[in-house]
């Protein structure tokens, strides 16, 4: 393989899906680092292993987090990615942008970095992919200066909170996800930018149980909009669905997981047993024109989602079944601080909050939180007689 050819990666320019290789090549026209990235990647495609060295601590003044240090293991071959560090730039809540803002970021990144980005990283940050060490500070200064952006989380800190589109474009939003996300992000800037704990903590906010931000799987604290009163049914709109061919019994009523719905075929009325409804969003999602959340809205606060390493896969579970969610979100913030204090005091290095709860026992945790035990917290009570 000649040094400049990338036959393997070229294969990935074929096919209908837009190609990341094309993107790297395009950046490579302007930036030598993008070109070296391409070549190093081609080598990985040949060797079957990464050519990045382990870790590396880099940063910007005053911050302990927000960058990921990265060095090539073959700096001689690929001098322009010898140091190739990443910025995690905190996105605006809901990932809405003006083109002006995006262009500013592009200009800065073309100047200081590789010209390659991820929109977005899987935590939600704008990933600016690869800059040499000496460019980090000036690039940061430009970002926080002219562009008005700031860094997101990395390392043992509060990670960039994210949320679904919510009230901005969704009829199901039971809480103002974007406002809450923005408020928490601003309130806890210090926790995002400097390592405070033994490990990371993630917050994700969905406007309803559809969980379009995948919070249950991906965050230590999933916050999920819900309602306490009965869902609202517009019977005229129901009849419209039925008249235009919806088999309401087989497609909606019989699918309700708790048999909370009943179709009065005679009266052409969809009846709800509100006390049976578990807010699963099924009927609402199926008939958005006819069924809406109730009016007494708030959020279910959950705890403990995370990736599988190293004690197995985790999903978040119910901690507070219902909390009103209005600015300045004091109750929520107090709870967060309480959780962080307890975790910080008791947790080991690299121990996520759910792992700590598992180690010390949920009882210990609930007591420290001053939260009452509730049947809503469990799928089922204990099956062992080891009650202590």
């Amino acid at each position: 393989m000649s040094e400049d050819k990338t036959p393997k990666l070229d294969e990935l320019e074929k096919g209908p899906w837009p190609s990341f290789v094309t993107e790297i090549k395009r950046a490579g026209k302007k930036k030598a680092s993008a070109n070296d990235l391409l070549k190093q990647l081609e080598l990985s495609y040949t060797d079957g292993v990464t050519h990045w060295k382990h870790g590396g601590v880099v940063g910007v003044r005053g911050y302990g987090c927000g960058t990921i240090g990265r060095y090539s293991d073959s700096p001689d071959k690929f001098p322009n990615v010898a140091a190739f560090h990443t910025f995690r730039v905190n996105h605006p809540s809901g990932w809405f942008y003006t083109t002006k803002a995006l262009r500013q970021i592009c200009d800065i990144w073309e100047k200081y970095g590789s010209g390659l980005t991820n929109f977005h990283g899987s935590t939600g940050d704008i990933i600016l992919l690869g800059a040499p060490t000496e460019n980090l500070q000036p690039c940061f200064d430009a970002l926080t200066g002219e562009a008005g952006f700031d860094l997101g989380g990395a390392a043992s800190d509060l990670r960039t909170p994210s949320c679904c589109v919510g009230a901005a474009r969704c009829e199901f939003a039971c809480i103002d996800t974007t406002d809450l996300c923005n408020d928490l992000t601003q309130t806890f800037q210090d926790y995002i930018h400097r390592p405070h704990w033994g490990y990371k903590f993630k917050i994700k906010i969905s406007g309803c149980p559809n969980d379009c931000i995948a919070s249950i799987g991906r965050s230590d604290m999933p916050i999920i909009g819900t309602w306490r009163d009965a869902l609202r049914i517009d019977q005229d709109a129901v009849r419209e669905y039925v008249d235009s061919g919806l088999d309401i019994v087989s497609e909606v009523v019989s699918q309700c997981p708790t048999e909370a719905l009943e179709w009065d075929a005679k009266g052409k009325k969809l009846n709800l047993k509100p006390e049976e409804c578990v807010r699963c969003m099924y009927c609402l999602s199926r008939m958005p024109k006819a069924i809406r959340p109730g009016l007494d809205k708030g959020a279910t606060i959950m705890i403990g989602g995370k990736a599988p390493l190293v004690r197995g896969p985790r999903l978040g579970w119910v901690l507070v079944p219902f909390m009103k969610m209005e600015p300045p979100y004091t109750e929520l913030k107090d709870l967060l601080e309480k959780i962080w204090d307890w975790w910080d005091e008791n947790g080991k290095t690299r121990e996520r909050v759910s792992e700590l709860i598992e180690r010390l026992g949920i009882q210990e945790f609930l007591k420290a939180m001053d939260l009452p035990p509730l049947p809503e917290m469990v799928a089922e009570p204990r099956t062992n007689a080891f009650i202590f």
Binding site: L9, P18, H54, T98, L129, Q186, C280
Partner: protein
């Protein structure tokens, strides 16, 4: 130098039609794959076109996207939680022209809504990470090429989320996806760098990093040794200690899990379960992985009922039937042997013959 300013206020980023109807949305319709219409209490409507993105974008491509948004959407756009681009506008009449430019100028497909397959959430791989067992972007590209039709048309029984992580750290938390594609190591980190161990690593934290207690002190070399019998190749020790490299061309590859979901829609969230324990890496296009995923998608698409997510379907037909229908061999590796494994066994006399 300003610090701790936080991200720009999202309110400054919203299109007019969104600002005006913020919190006032009444219902939505999916006009066709990739085309959403949200209607507000006052009758206002916002139209959205969702476009598939490779996520890794050059700044010039971002500028192209901006050009389109300037032309049709008053200089606004958003990204979704699965890395798609959404163009929002109030003027229905511009939709087709916008769509044309997205396809032709940006080269982005339109789709991913409703029961289309959406984008594959994924991670860094060989592009930027130090611990991968496989690449990310390359497999995603190969998969989406093959599954392209599922993105641009509604051919599935329900939503389907495919996710990919390049190592067991599982960035993107793909452990609850309809299909998760995970990079796995299958050999212990035995090429220990004794020379650098004491400079780079601490013995206690290295020992503590191992969930199975497979690492023991090795004072002879001021280093450690691995009990190969106990090691489950999780790679956590390498994250903590660079002197314990675990990646290897021969033994790294892909595992595929299926049947997870995060939404509480109808059924509770579910973890994904192992379908295929190992497929060796085969860059640049991982044909074995692609055909394995395609097979699962097709069998699901053919057999599941309307509205049934992958995991709901499998629970209905039972796992043995899933393995039968997909033709995937069931092996020792499928049977759990981690903490709590016993509760995953068939503790009933329910058997199909």
């Amino acid at each position: 130098m300003a610090t701790d300013i936080g991200p720009p206020d999202y309110r400054t980023m919203l299109p007019e039609i969104i600002k005006k109807n913020y919190g006032q949305w009444k219902y939505h319709e999916i006009l066709k794959p990739g085309f959403l219409k949200h209607v507000a209490e006052n009758g206002d409507a916002v139209y959205t076109i969702r476009a598939g993105s490779p996520r890794l974008l050059s700044v010039d491509k971002v500028r192209d996207i901006c050009d389109v948004a300037d032309k049709y959407c008053d200089g606004h756009l958003r990204f979704t939680s699965r890395h798609n681009v959404e163009f929002l506008l109030a003027d229905e009449s511009k939709l087709e022209a916008l769509a044309k430019e997205i396809n032709e100028k940006l080269g982005f497909p339109i789709g991913g809504t409703g029961t289309c397959l959406s984008n594959i959430v994924h991670t860094q791989g060989w592009i930027h990470c130090h611990t991968p067992a496989t690449d990310a972007s390359g497999i995603v590209k190969a998969l989406m090429d093959e599954l392209y039709d599922y993105f641009v048309s509604e051919k599935l029984p329900a939503k389907m989320r495919i996710s990919l992580a390049c190592c067991g750290n599982m960035c993107a938390a793909i452990h609850c996806s309809d299909i998760s594609v995970v990079g796995v190591h299958t050999a212990p980190p035995t090429k220990i760098d004794d020379k650098n161990f004491s400079t780079w690593c601490e013995v206690p934290t290295t020992l503590a990093s191992c969930p199975t207690g497979a690492i023991r002190r090795y004072p002879e070399a001021k280093s450690v040794r691995i009990d190969e019998e106990k090691c489950m190749y999780c790679g956590n020790c390498y994250t903590v200690c660079p002197a314990l490299p675990i990646a290897s061309k021969e033994t790294d590859g892909i595992a595929i899990f299926v049947g997870g979901k995060v939404s509480s829609n109808r059924t509770s969230p579910k973890l994904s379960k192992l379908a295929i324990p190992f497929i060796p890496n085969n860059p640049p296009r991982w044909p074995e992985v692609v055909s394995a995923v395609k097979n699962i998608v097709e069998v699901y698409a053919k057999n599941a009922r309307k509205g049934e997510r992958m995991g709901d379907w499998i629970e209905r037909i039972t796992w043995p039937t899933f393995f039968k229908l997909t033709g995937i061999p069931f092996t020792m590796k499928h049977i759990d042997n981690f903490t709590g494994a016993l509760t995953t066994y068939n503790r009933s006399a329910h058997i199909k013959f």
